[in-house]
Amino acid sequence: MSATPTVEDGYVDGNALAGPLAEIFAVDVTSVVGCCSGCRTSGPLARLRVYGPAPGLVARCPECDQVMLRLVQAETDAWLDLRGTLSLRIPRSQA
């Protein structure tokens, strides 16, 4: 997964959240279903549009562009802002 950024390639998708959030969550987040608090659309976090990496990752709803998730990794702590996310539906067993 590597390519030269271009104007239209200004973001990646939520698959890019898998590594950074695996430091925090015990389950894979890309198949977690998030509900956007802006437009109420639900979908796997893999579908979000992710901008970054500096100063942090910003993940936006692919439908209404609202910021659903922000992650800033500082030296000793990670800051996770989920105010744009109404809920996360997390599979309890991943075969």
């Binding site: 997964m1 695996a22 015990a26 389950v27 796997p44």
Partner: protein, 251 residues
Amino acid sequence: MAGTAVPGRLGERLRWRVATLVDQRAETESAHTLVLKVPGWPGHLAGQHVDVRLTAEDGYSTQRSYSIASAPDSELVELTVQRVPDGEVSPYLVDQLAAGDQVELRGPVGGWFVWRPEQSEPVLLVAGGSGIVPLMAMIRVRRAVSGRSPFRLIYSVRAPEDRIYLPELRRGDPGLDTAYLYTRRVPEGWPRLPVRLGTQDLASNGWPAEFEPTVYVCGPTGFVELAADMLVDLGHDAGRIRTERFGPSGG
């Protein structure tokens, strides 16, 4: 197949592991496959990726994500890296890394853009450029388990020499059909002019929507969005279209 199951990581945070380059081969002029030995590797699913971290002597550190190209094979993990001319990491990995050198690696990660051997429905793989890499892992896992689900691959490249894994794709697999598309220059004797992926390509080389295939699309953002939109126009359920874009994390 031993090592296919990815053990749940409950209770164990993902950690960086030290990987050692044991072999390297050129797939095209700009894409090389790195064979890494990763002690304690837990196995992976086709479509998952890893983060690779390089740290300079002065402590400066940078990381990139790369799709896993290989089927699970004990402690060996293969990544195919495309050299990005002005990139910070990929020229080093492709041109400088030598057998015995070490990098840090974290993974496998990702559970959405994956194909599992127990899936029995038809599968359509749509690759743009080096987007073939995670899709090749799916083809290889299917082969490793003698999978029966029918696969079709549509592989779009700029020019004939850009095709990664060509010898292996030419050997083929039972139940896998491969179609190539050239966007800048076609091979000699090719019946078409260079074209971008079109609805007709997805219709004639893919599966009818009524077959309810799972579709995996990987490539640059523009390519992926175009393909996904056309698939929806052809009647495919958006819930069965799984996409992975490359992006600015590259280089």
